[in-house]
Symmetry: C2
Subunit: 150 residues, 2 copies
DNA sequence: AATGTTATTGCATCATTAGGCAATAATCAC
DNA sequence: GTGATTATTGCCTAATGATGCAATAACATT
C-alpha cells in the first residue's frame, strides 16, 4: 500500500499519468517482486482486468517503466525476455550463460567488491544499477575442448 | 587469414558446417572487429553476396555464433540490437544507460578489479566474459529529483 | 466545476524474430 | 570417389515488437 503510493507519486513526478493499465501493471509487479516475468504473462494478466487491451499498451508501458528504473529487462538466450521489479534496489547482478540462458544470482562477496570498485565510475548513477555477466556455465563451456581460447 | 582458418576449425569442432552464408558472415565480423553492427547491416551485406538469402538464415546463424562465443549481442534501449565480434577476447564490459541507451566502455581499473574478484566465481567460464552495467547516465539520472531513491 | 494541455490509448499497419517441415548440401567414414 | 548422416537452408506461417495518427482521458490551473 505504502509502496504503491510512493511509486505512483514518483512516476507522476516524472510526467507519467496514472491509467488503469499502469495501475494494474504496477500492482502486479509489487505483488511479484522477486519473480522474472515473461511479457506474455503480463499481457494475460492485464487482459483479465481490462477487456480488449491492445498489446501495444503493454509494450509502451514496459518501455516507460524501464526508462524510469521501475523494472528491468533480462534477455535470456533460449528463454526470452523477462521483466523484474527493481525499483529502490541499490544494485543486483546475475550470471547468464550465453549458450543455454541459465541464470544465477551472483554471490555477495563479488557484489561488494564491485560496488567498491564502482566508486571510480562517474557519469553513471549508482542507484538502481544492474550488472549482467554473460559467460558460459560449466555445462556449456566452450573453452573446454578448444585449443584456441585461453 | 590465419584467424579466419582458426575460427573455421574451431566452429567445425563444435559441429557447425561451413556454408557460404556462414563464411561471409564470419569474414564480415573479422573485418569489422571493433564495430557494433545492427542486424540490418548484416542482412544487407549478406544479400549483396548471396541473392535471395532468407532472413531466417541470418537469425539462425547469429544465434549459433553467440552460443559459441564468436559474437556478442548488445540490446541497447532506444537503439536496438547490435552485434560485436568477441571471439578470443578475455573480457570486456560496457555501461549502458537504461533510459537513452547511451553506451560507454568501462575504464581499465574497474576491469582489473572485477577480474580479480571473479576468481571466486565458479561454474562460470572466465574466458569470453561480458560484463554489462545497466544504469543511468547523468543526463537521464532518475534519482536526481527523487526523494525516494537513495 | 470547467478548460486547456498533453500523455495515453486503440487501431491499423509494418518490421522483426521464431518455428515446423521438407529439400539440400556439408561432412564423415569407408 | 561413393554413400550415409545430419546440419543447414528456404519457404511458409505465426508470434512478437514498433510506429504513425486521431480520439480519448488524466492532470494542472483557474
Amino acid at each position: 500500500m505504502k509502496k504503491h503510493a510512493e511509486l505512483i507519486t514518483y512516476l507522476k513526478s516524472k510526467g507519467l499519468r496514472m491509467t488503469p493499465s499502469k495501475e494494474i501493471l504496477i500492482q502486479f509487479f509489487l505483488d511479484n517482486k522477486s519473480r522474472h516475468v515473461p511479457i506474455k504473462e503480463l499481457y494475460d494478466y492485464l487482459s483479465k482486468h481490462i477487456e480488449d487491451v491492445d498489446r501495444t499498451t503493454i509494450y509502451r508501458n514496459i518501455e516507460k517503466f524501464i526508462s524510469l528504473g521501475l523494472i528491468q529487462e533480462l534477455d535470456l538466450p533460449k528463454v526470452g525476455k523477462v521483466y523484474q521489479y527493481v525499483f529502490g534496489k541499490k544494485m543486483h547482478h546475475y550470471y547468464i550463460c550465453k549458450s543455454c540462458g541459465k541464470m544465477n544470482k551472483g554471490n555477495a562477496e563479488l557484489f561488494e567488491k564491485v560496488e567498491k570498485a564502482l566508486k571510480d565510475i562517474h557519469d553513471f548513477s549508482k542507484a538502481n544499477l544492474s550488472m549482467l555477466f554473460y559467460g558460459f556455465c560449466s555445462k556449456c563451456d566452450i573453452s573446454a575442448e578448444s585449443e584456441i581460447l585461453p
